[in-house]
């Protein structure tokens, strides 16, 4: 019998982008805990990717403080992804970071057969630039509006209203973390649960006002129990 008809087969790409606050207020325990938590989350992400071999998870990272830059610019297969520690200094130019992500998600930069991207925004403060402009750019992109957007607020000073606007779905609240263990737990959830949900090939309709119209996420994890005062950020 003849060979299978058609060209080369390939699994479907899934873009996963970390968007990380590296402003001065993240210095010390926060940025150390964040670096540790993301590094620890990568094996769990690799496990999720192995469970669904029909999705190719490609990871990138953007950092923002005084302006914003790619920390990992090249979409990198999750099985080859290595986390390089971030340092913290400067202000909170979140809007610029969202603009960079919007550019990456333009139609001409995205594979048409891709799975919904996953964007994870982590911040401990108030944006110091025009974040609404960056968010508007992101939402103006079809892949941006269809992305699964999750946010983690570190400490009490994070602007939950801004993070909620980024998520764009009232049913999904920002995750909150006020100590290193809690941050590790939330980063692990944010890096694996949305990834698993987005890599499912089920089709979706987009009925207005439908709470399950976007990729549905299960309930987030409960906070870590009581911690000592010196553990709190």
């Amino acid at each position: 019998m003849a060979n299978r008809p058609g060209g080369a087969l390939a699994t479907r790409p899934l873009q996963f982008i970390w968007i990380v606050d590296c402003s001065g207020s993240m210095q010390g325990k926060k940025i150390e805990a964040l670096n540790f938590a993301i590094r620890e989350a990568i094996p769990a992400m690799q496990d999720v990717a192995r469970e669904n071999p029909n999705a190719q998870v490609l990871m990138r990272a953007v950092r923002f403080s005084d302006s914003a830059h790619w920390h990992v610019a090249q979409p990198t297969d999750v099985h080859e992804f290595k986390w390089t520690d971030l340092t913290a200094d400067g202000v909170t130019d979140m809007g610029q970071a969202l603009g960079i992500v919007a550019e990456a998600l333009k139609m001409e930069n995205m594979p048409p057969r891709g799975l919904p991207p996953v964007l994870v925004l982590i911040s401990d403060g108030q944006p110091t630039d025009n974040y609404t402009k960056g968010l508007a750019k992101l939402i103006a992109e079809p892949w941006g509006v269809k992305a699964v957007r999750v946010a983690i607020a570190i400490g009490d000073d994070a602007d939950l209203n801004v993070l909620q606007q980024f998520i764009g779905n009232v049913e999904v609240k920002p995750l909150r973390a006020d100590n290193a263990r809690d941050l590790a737990k939330k980063i692990r959830w944010a890096s694996t649960v949305p990834l698993k949900a987005a890599s499912n090939p089920a089709s979706r309709t987009q009925e207005q006002g439908d709470p399950a119209a976007n990729v549905t996420l299960p309930a987030p994890p409960e906070p870590i129990g009581p911690v000592s005062a010196d553990e709190v950020f």
Binding site: A2, P5, A8, T11, P142, S203, T205, L217
Partner: protein, 292 residues
């Protein structure tokens, strides 16, 4: 001088459970149906992709009802079309989306009435999906739960009619022509697994329709596929190559041989590609033979 004898048309179809569904224990949510009698025309083909999301938990039924509705509506149309002047067929075809949607909704309502959704079915859903399903049922709208796409075609003796709602693709290739054609262009707004659907209120308006008189361009192969098939290829060109490759294989090995191999090819495509359910319906005209 030898006389060329036109060979009968062959209709083939296959539908396989996606590799991802097999891993998670979900059923095949696609459906396929072909109607072609005695090797002649008209011939009708339809494939449908049940959405498979948690809130569309009866979409495997919805896809079967979709291909049934499309085939019935196109069969009626083909019967009536023999009495319509060719130049009026396209205008008449514009009424088909409404006819298909009405048939599908009636079939869904009937299935739902005969098989009411129990509390245990809703309780088993993810919370957000259960909210969606309950809201739909509260407003007397069971259609969301059965949501499915539709790709269909009717090949008449002198014309081709294609109707599509949502994702999926149609390919044609003519003998001797290098280029594989797509009668209905890919809708670039349907990305990230989002699709238009029979379950939506504006389903009729979202249908896309292609009609053309064939003249000398009768396709030797017409292929309809659910999106799990094109999504399994690295490039769109790699998927279009399926049509030209298939025509060559059919000419060389014959339709019966290809019908046997088809499910295996689709399973391989899903396993190494999208992981989604894959369904195809194919209409094939063998090359004419010289009369003895």
């Amino acid at each position: 001088m030898p006389t060329a004898v036109v060979q009968p048309w062959w209709a083939l179809s296959a539908s396989v459970c996606g590799a991802s569904h097999a891993r998670t224990g979900l059923p095949n949510q696609d459906a396929v149906k072909v109607v072609q009698d005695g090797g002649g025309l008209p011939a009708i083909l339809a494939v449908s992709d049940g959405h498979g999301s948690a809130k569309c938990f009866r979409s495997h039924v919805g896809s079967q009802l979709a291909v049934d509705a499309a085939v019935a509506a196109l069969d009626d149309f083909a019967t009536g079309a023999s009495e319509i002047p060719p130049e009026q067929i396209q205008a008449s075809a514009a009424l088909l989306p409404g006819a298909i949607v009405r048939r599908w909704r009636a079939a869904v309502a009937e299935h739902h009435a005969a098989n009411p959704i129990g509390e245990s079915e809703l309780a088993a859903l993810e919370p957000a999906a259960a909210v969606s399903a309950r809201q739909a049922l509260d407003r007397g709208d069971p259609f969301l739960i059965y949501g499915a796409t539709l790709v269909s075609a009717l090949l008449g003796p002198t014309w081709l009619l294609c109707l599509q709602l949502g994702d999926g693709e149609i390919l044609t290739v003519s003998r001797g022509a290098a280029e594989v054609m797509q009668p209905i262009a890919v809708d670039e707004s349907l990305i990230a697994n989002e699709t238009t659907s029979l379950c939506e209120r504006d389903a009729e308006q979202n249908f896309r329709l292609h009609f053309r008189m064939l003249g000398d361009s009768t396709p030797a192969l017409l292929l309809l596929a659910t999106d799990g098939y094109p999504n399994s290829f690295e490039t769109p060109a790699g998927f279009r190559q399926v049509a030209s490759d298939l025509l060559g294989i059919l000419d060389q090995d014959g339709a019966e041989s290809v019908a046997q191999a088809l499910p295996g090819w689709l399973e391989e495509s899903s396993r190494l590609g999208s992981g989604d359910d894959v369904s195809v319906a194919i209409l094939y005209l063998p090359p004419a033979k010289e009369a003895p």
